[in-house]
Symmetry: C2
Subunit: 385 residues, 2 copies
């Protein structure tokens, strides 16, 4: 393996940087049903297939377009078999070989690990960058600068996460504790990572915010595929054996048979536990603090924030066919239908109107949608989930 | 005319009462779109065609069934041409001759006046009783006792209204000021009416309630058709001439031609102004205080009250196909669809879910639905009205 040395005879800093950028391959895990956005987002039409910002693009398409200036056509997408058609419609430029289809969800370590293994089999010098398909980022140029720094830092033999500089004391995200600055050419903001910490209490979140030494963990990882696989092999040998077997069969006639046999046997584990945390303990993780705005669209209150432009009086309206009438009302309406929706004398309401299911809640209770969906599941009303 | 004398050789009080009852003909005006119950009630599917109490009967059918023990098959319905089929489905026993179809709405004086004129042409001794198709009354037996008293009082030459004994100081109804008791055999609760008064202010309503001398005006009138027409002729001669012309052609080959020509020319006026108020001034009006429970289902809060039996936790649910899931919610859901409706953390909400329109409001704002519908009308979105 050859992760630290540039390919070919490159010696100036610019040449070294160019060589690192040439090694970059974007990976987009497009998974999760986005239960907290039910009934808009659901198993058959997950979050990443919706335009949640009124931009005209689905979150998946926007993610691709944000990475393409860095990766060119070197983009691999990991998604569920059920979403094959919808993903191909969104990303017609993705060749079959770069579309990894999961027959069942196996959590992020299997998805990202298999992507790493497939890319490694093609070229062990690849630097992968994994970016979830359901996040909203702006402006793209600031994000791309951070990814560029991350790639240059990864080329020095690091797993690099792009942290999000906190804007408030959120208790909804994990945090990254930054250590000393790393002296990487072309990546002035690179820092060592001391540790990843779980979602904190309110008080602890306030301390993190005040200290200035923490970032939110947005699950963005840029790393040499060889280094990803080295940590995966050490920490999760059973998972590693499985993805390695599938990767060896990839791009060969045996691909489908081997995938169908091995994938269902893989253990379910998050990439944070399988790779990021142990690698941080080993001193192998760096962070680039990202100063772009970032939203994981965790609930409908987020949709309200992200769409403040399209307001009917004090109601944020999302949906092309929406016909919303309001009187003394405020809140968010997400419409997947062409029905007339009249809101009268109701404040901070959240309404999600789809063909077969309707949600009415408030911004304050938007986070409880997940538990309502769990109750629907328990009741057997799974046709709308 | 012969309104005071019994027909045939009847002399005992029982025989006199029987003779009066034989003269009774029920009239059911089934009009109005019930705008305050939009989008459930609308031009194409007005209030009286809905089962708003969860009884299994539409309000129209329940009105018929409540009158039938008194009237037998002597029931005349006045409704819009657009509702002909729906009304016939609800009341298959009504013959064509007893179905008066309005080509356009002309308010209650024209509707009730034409009914009176048609019945008068058939038999000038008929005592008509007019009861709107969209009211909820219980128990039927108490109502029927009041109607029986009203018929016996009407047979003495009175226009008799059935008042509703107030249960609270409502500012939403007109009131009837009662005078001295009338000494009518078989109608011990009959009183003279001093005057009809308009919807009062809160303070005035409190005084009315405390005095015990007022009833709510529910628009129920029982009267000899000859007396109705006498007052109509005096007060609204133009309207009288029109309905008289239509009535003379009724049950003849000229019926449709004359109705189509004359009806659109009739003035629009409420029966209260055209008959009840001037007749009260003339000392011709009596009242039977009704001690049954009565609701005109004026808004969705009323639907909540009338359906307290079918609750999902603290949410009253109306609609056969309704699939409602609640978490920390209270209020009313009226569902005309089979969609799943999830309510989370929202109090006193009113949700009306139909195929093409959705209303979300609160019990406190339910009375403002009418103004929202007016705005929809102004915006041109009349397809859902």
């Amino acid at each position: 393996m050859n992760t630290n040395a540039p390919m070919g005879p490159a010696h100036t800093p610019e040449q070294l940087a160019d060589a690192a950028m040439q090694r970059f391959y974007a990976v987009i895990p497009a998974g999760g049903t986005g239960t907290r956005l039910w009934p808009l987002s659901r198993a058959a039409a997950p979050k990443f297939l919706h335009d949640l910002t009124g931009s005209g693009s689905t979150l998946l398409r926007a993610t691709y377009d944000r990475l393409e200036p860095l990766s060119g056509s070197r983009v691999l997408v990991v998604t569920g078999e059920a979403h094959r058609e919808a993903v191909c419609r969104q990303l017609p430029e993705i060749p079959d070989a770069d579309l990894v289809l999961e027959s069942e969800p196996k959590d992020s370590a299997a998805a990202i690990g298999l992507a790493a293994a497939i890319l490694h089999a093609r070229d062990p010098d690849i630097i992968m960058g994994s970016f979830a398909a359901d996040q909203v980022i702006s402006p793209d140029a600031v994000f791309q600068d951070a990814v560029r720094e991350a790639i240059l830092t990864a080329a020095t033999g690091k797993i690099v996460t792009i942290g999000i500089t906190p804007t408030h004391a959120s208790t909804g995200f994990g945090y990254i504790r930054m250590g000393r600055p790393l002296d990487v050419a072309g990546a002035p903001s690179a820092h060592a990572v001391v540790e990843f910490v779980e979602k904190p209490s309110e008080d602890v979140a306030q301390e993190y915010l005040a200290s200035g030494g923490y970032s939110w963990n947005a699950g963005m990882f840029v790393a040499p595929v060889s280094l990803m696989l080295k940590h995966l092999k050490q920490n999760e040998p059973e998972l590693f054996r499985g993805i390695d077997e599938i990767a060896r069969a990839w791009d060969t006639p045996a691909q489908h048979e081997v995938t169908a046999r091995v994938w269902p046997t893989l253990p379910k584990i998050a990439i944070d536990y399988a790779v990021a945390e142990p690698a941080a303990d080993a001193g192998d993780v760096a962070v680039i603090p990202g100063n772009f705005s970032w939203d994981d669209v965790g609930d409908f209150a987020a949709i309200g924030r992200l769409n403040s432009a399209s307001e009917v009086e004090n109601v944020t309206v999302l949906g092309e066919g929406a016909r919303v009438f309001t009187e003394s009302a405020s809140g968010v309406v997400v419409s997947d239908t062409k029905r007339v929706i009249a809101l009268i004398g109701i404040e901070d309401v959240v309404i999600v109107d789809t063909a077969d299911a309707l949600l009415v809640t408030t911004k304050a209770h938007a986070q409880r949608v997940k538990s309502a969906v769990d109750r629907l599941k328990a009741s057997g009303d799974t046709d709308v989930l």
